[in-house]
Structure formats: structure tokens, C-alpha cells
Amino acid sequence: MGSRSSHAAVIPDVDTIRRETGFSQASLLRLHHRFRALDRDKKGYLSRMDLQQIGALAVNPLGDCIIDSFFPSRSQRLDFSGFVRVLAHFRPVEEESPGIRDPKQPEPLNSRMNKLRFAFQLYDLDGDGLISRQEMLQVLRLMVGVQVTEEQLESIADRTVQEADEDGDGAVSFLEFTKSLEKMNIEQKMSIRILK
């Protein structure tokens, strides 16, 4: 009779996930429902193809990079915990007074540092911890498609790397990246609020 709707017990390791990501039970249920809706063939995991079929994601110039960020180290399957861990970066930061957090606990996934690290990884295509001029050029090319000439793009990439690069190694490290964005309201710009 009908379909069984998602129940907390159906999500594997729900307590671990809740602790690591900080999502509420209700949010996790919604995300699990969404995970199952995207998994059209009912495989139990998501493949790249499942994400590529989201129309609005396919028209996003960085769509493929974003999809890649879900599939680390050449794996082809995305299970629910992996799915939620990436999305946890975008959880809005709660208002809590500093000093209450237990310093022995790992930093929450949605902290400012981790949000910045996520954005940095989108630029750092080979994952070596540095955004080289070449990588900057590649990402720029994705964002503008064929609308801009190679020279214009190169000059933009050069200028950007020069402005952010402090130790003169010709590439932007994570620290330099954070420094150039220190005034940015990352918490707001990289947050997505889930409605109950």
C-alpha cells in the first residue's frame, strides 16, 4: 500500500552523521528524501550522471566542478553520508559565543575556515594546495565560456594571482586566499538555509 516514507531509522549511521554535520533530524530527513529523489534508478548511491541531470545545475558554468567536489579521489559512487558532508559546508553558522566550543572537538564543517577551504578546492583543480596561474585560467575559462579572448583572460588571471600572491611564488596558497578574502562575509554568502 503506497510507499513507505523516509524514517530516521532508514538512514544509515544517522547519529554519526548528525554529530559530524550538525544538521537537525528534520533537515536530514529532507536531505535523505532529496537524495532518494535524485537517485532515479534506486541504486542506493548517486553517480555523476544523476547530478548532471539536474537541469539548473547543468546550466551553471561551474556545474561540473561542483559535481566533482562531491566525488573525491576518483570514486564513482556517492553515498548519503558523503552527500550530506559536502552540503554541511553550507549550513548557516549558528550564533554561539566563542569559547563554549570544546577545543578538542574537530572544527564543525560549516565554519568559516571550512567554507573557505571548500571554495579554495574549487579553484585548486589538482589538489596540491596552490592555485597556479594555469588553474586560475582554467576556472575562468569555465565561467566565461567562449565569450572572452585568451589574452584578456590571461591578463585577468595574471593580475588576480599577482594581487593575492604575497610570498612571490607565482601561486596562491590557502593562507593567501583567506587573507585576500578576510573582509568577506563568507558566513552569509556561502550558506543555504533549510526551511523546516
Binding site: 561542483i66 585577468i156 554568502k189 543555504i192
Partner: protein, 396 residues
């Protein structure tokens, strides 16, 4: 129960289309400007430039669509604001109270042991009468008497089937009902749409030839009056389809054709792109908007989840199917419009009347990927922000 449903019929059923995430409806330009403004302390002038922070916009937008996008959610059943005692519509299944569970149990008993057998009996009667009746009428010589009989046999059987589903339908603006030589277009939510429309008017059906019970029904129906059934192979050939439809439409003695241009079932919260084929024929188009009230039973057919028989069983074990049908005034293609624009015009009219969201996306996205031209639009917009128009650039 019927009276209560009838009273609600007079207003529009408001779809509960809140997404699961909070979104700001700002454009690409505004958002990127805001991101830059919050990041840098230098005065923001309009010189085009690139900032490291621009990536945040695309990143967040991408994540938002992964969490919730306009299209994927149209292919699953609508969520209700308050529970209607059917466990199939219960999204967040939690044990709330003993009383509610008892009520639910009682509901199950009534629906399965009392309503279901009644409805199955009615449906059986309706379908067999249809097959037998149309075959008998088919033996008569062609003429006005045959047409008269076939119309009434069809109508009677559809009315019985409507009762079998306990569909409570309110028809609005019946003076706009389709006439001979026209094409009736409507938004598509389930195969039941056909029965609902055909129980209030006389239509010629269009569709693929099926096997099994459907095939038997189709063959019987076409004996009584001309319907347009296509073989599977013919469906791919658009010219053949257009030709047969045009022939049918030009014969004024034949009934109006009933077509669902979306091509697939959508969950009745939105209207998706209309395929332009039926709008190229040049006949008068009679748009019809169908809106179901999901409170008593959700009529949406999720064809990837349920087969036809399971679907019909679910329909017959819901409380009732309540819907409103609006007949919109007929439209014809203007001389300076092409088929696609005409199709969009009709689609907007239907969406507006039914209180549905008008989407540009293709219903075929259920099964295929989207085209690259849309991505280029985004890329164009962004390029303007970082390099400006070619005339503006004074230094490289």
C-alpha cells in the same frame, strides 16, 4: 464528505509549493556586486573586473540546485500542508498520538473494505459497457443515428468510470467547450484527465496503440467513432502524425481532438513546456486547465514509481479525487506568431487560470539532459561583468 469538497471547489486550490531551502530572487549581477561590495573596502565603480570571491555565487547557486530545483520536484507527488489520513501522503512519518492512529486505522478499513469493492465493481461495469456498447454501435450503418448513439454510449461509460473513482469535478465556463474541428489542449497530471474531460463533452482521443486491456478498449472505441490511434513506429514520424491530425481536424463532422502537449505527467503544481507539434496544425485551440485538490487524494501518476494497475488501485483507495476544470476561451495562432510562441501563450493562459507555476523547462527533462544554450546565457552574463562590452575596454 462530498458536500464539504464541493464547497471548497469555488476557490483555487493553493499549491503548497514551498521549496525546502530559502532562496533570494536576485539576479547574477546583483548578487556578484553584493559579494564584491562586502569583500573589498575600495569604492565600487563600474569598471569590469574579476574577483576571487565571484566563485562563491556560482558555488552557492550550484549547491542550491542540488538541494532543491524547480524541475525534479515536479515529478514527485505534492506535499500537503495537513495530513489527510492516507499514509502514502505522510511525509515525515512519526507517531503522534493514539487517537490519530485509531482514526487512521478506521480510515484504512473504510477505504479498503467498503469503498474499494464498490469502486472496482463500478469500474468493471463501466469498462465492459464501453467495450460492448461501442462494438454494438459499430455494427450500425454510418449516419447521424450512429453518431448520436456512439456519443451517448461513450458519455455514459465515462460517467460511470468517474463515479468509480469518486471524482468530484466542478466545471467552469462550460460555454467555452471545444467544438468540432478544434483541438483541446490541457495540462497533464494522470491518465484520469482523459476520463474527467470526456465525461463532460465528446472528444476524439489521440494516443499510441497499446496491448492488453487498453488495446481491447481502443479497438472497440474506434469502431463506434473515429479516434486517432498511432502505432508505436508511427509516433516517431512527426510529419505523419501532423498529417493524420490535420486530416481529422479538417473534417468538420469529426469530434475535437484531445491532446496533452506536455507529453508526460507532471505533479499538478506547474505547467511545463508544451511541445509545438499540435500548435502547428492551424486549427482553433481550446485550452483547458485542470487543477486537482490533493486534500482528498493525489491524482499524480509517477510513472517511474508505479505501474498503471498499482496507480489505479491507489486512486480507488483514496478518499476521493477532487478537481476543477476550467474551459478557457478558444485561441488561434496570430499571423506574426510562430508555433512555439503560440504554444507558450496557451501555456501561460492555462497556468494562470489553474494557479500553476509556469515553467519553461521541458517535461522531457524527466528522462534527458538539458541543452547547452542555457549555460551560454549564464556565461555571457558573467563575462560582461568581468570584461565589459568590447567597446568599453581601453586597455588590455
Amino acid at each position: 464528505m462530498e458536500r464539504g469538497a464541493k464547497e471548497k471547489n469555488h476557490q483555487l486550490y493553493k499549491p503548497y509549493t514551498n521549496g525546502i531551502i530559502a532562496k533570494d530572487p536576485t539576479s547574477l549581477e546583483e548578487e556578484i556586486k553584493e559579494i564584491r561590495r562586502s569583500g573589498s573596502s575600495k569604492a565600487l565603480d563600474n569598471t569590469p573586473e574579476f574577483e576571487l570571491s565571484d566563485i562563491f555565487y556560482f558555488c552557492r547557486k550550484g549547491m542550491e540546485t542540488i538541494m532543491d530545483d524547480e524541475v525534479t520536484k515536479r515529478f514527485s507527488a505534492e506535499e500537503l500542508e495537513s495530513w489527510n489520513l492516507l499514509s502514502r501522503t505522510n511525509y515525515n512519518f512519526q507517531y503522534i498520538s493514539l487517537r490519530l492512529t485509531v482514526l487512521w486505522g478506521l480510515g484504512v478499513l473504510i477505504r479498503y473494505c467498503f469503498l474499494l469493492p464498490l469502486r472496482i465493481a463500478l469500474a468493471f461495469t463501466g469498462i465492459s459497457l464501453l467495450v460492448v456498447g461501442t462494438t454494438v454501435v459499430g455494427y450500425l450503418p454510418n449516419g447521424r443515428f450512429k453518431e448520436f448513439l456512439s456519443k451517448h454510449v461513450h458519455l455514459m461509460c465515462y460517467r460511470i468510470c468517474v463515479r468509480a473513482l469518486t471524482a468530484i469535478i466542478t466545471y467552469h465556463d462550460r460555454e467555452n467547450r471545444p467544438r468540432n474541428g478544434g483541438i483541446c489542449v490541457a495540462n497533464h497530471t494522470s491518465p484520469i484527465d482523459v476520463i474527467i474531460l470526456a465525461s463532460d463533452g465528446y472528444y476524439a482521443m489521440v494516443g499510441q496503440v497499446h496491448g492488453g486491456l487498453m488495446g481491447v478498449i481502443q479497438r472497440a472505441m474506434v469502431k463506434a467513432c473515429p479516434h486517432v490511434w498511432f502505432e508505436r513506429s508511427e509516433v516517431k514520424d512527426r510529419h505523419l502524425v501532423a498529417k493524420r491530425l490535420t486530416e481529422h481536424v479538417q473534417d468538420k463532422s469529426k469530434l475535437p481532438i484531445l491532446i496533452f502537449p506536455e507529453g508526460t505527467c507532471i505533479n499538478n503544481t506547474s505547467v511545463m513546456m508544451f511541445k509545438k507539434g499540435s500548435f502547428e496544425i492551424g486549427a482553433t485551440v481550446y485550452p483547458v486547465a485542470i487543477k486537482y485538490d490533493p486534500q482528498f487524494g493525489d491524482a499524480f501518476w509517477n510513472s517511474s514509481k508505479y505501474g498503471m494497475v498499482t496507480y489505479l488501485l491507489r486512486m480507488m483507495t483514496s478518499w476521493a479525487i477532487v478537481c476543477s476544470v476550467w474551459y478557457l476561451p478558444p485561441m488561434t495562432r496570430e499571423t506574426d506568431e510562430d508555433a512555439v510562441q503560440f504554444a507558450n501563450r496557451v501555456k501561460s493562459a492555462i497556468a494562470r487560470q489553474g494557479g500553476l507555476v509556469d515553467l519553461l523547462w521541458d517535461g522531457g527533462l524527466k528522462r534527458e539532459k538539458v541543452k547547452d544554450t542555457f549555460k551560454e546565457e549564464q556565461q555571457k552574463l558573467y563575462s560582461k561583468m568581468i570584461v565589459g562590452n568590447h567597446e568599453d575596454r581601453s586597455r588590455s
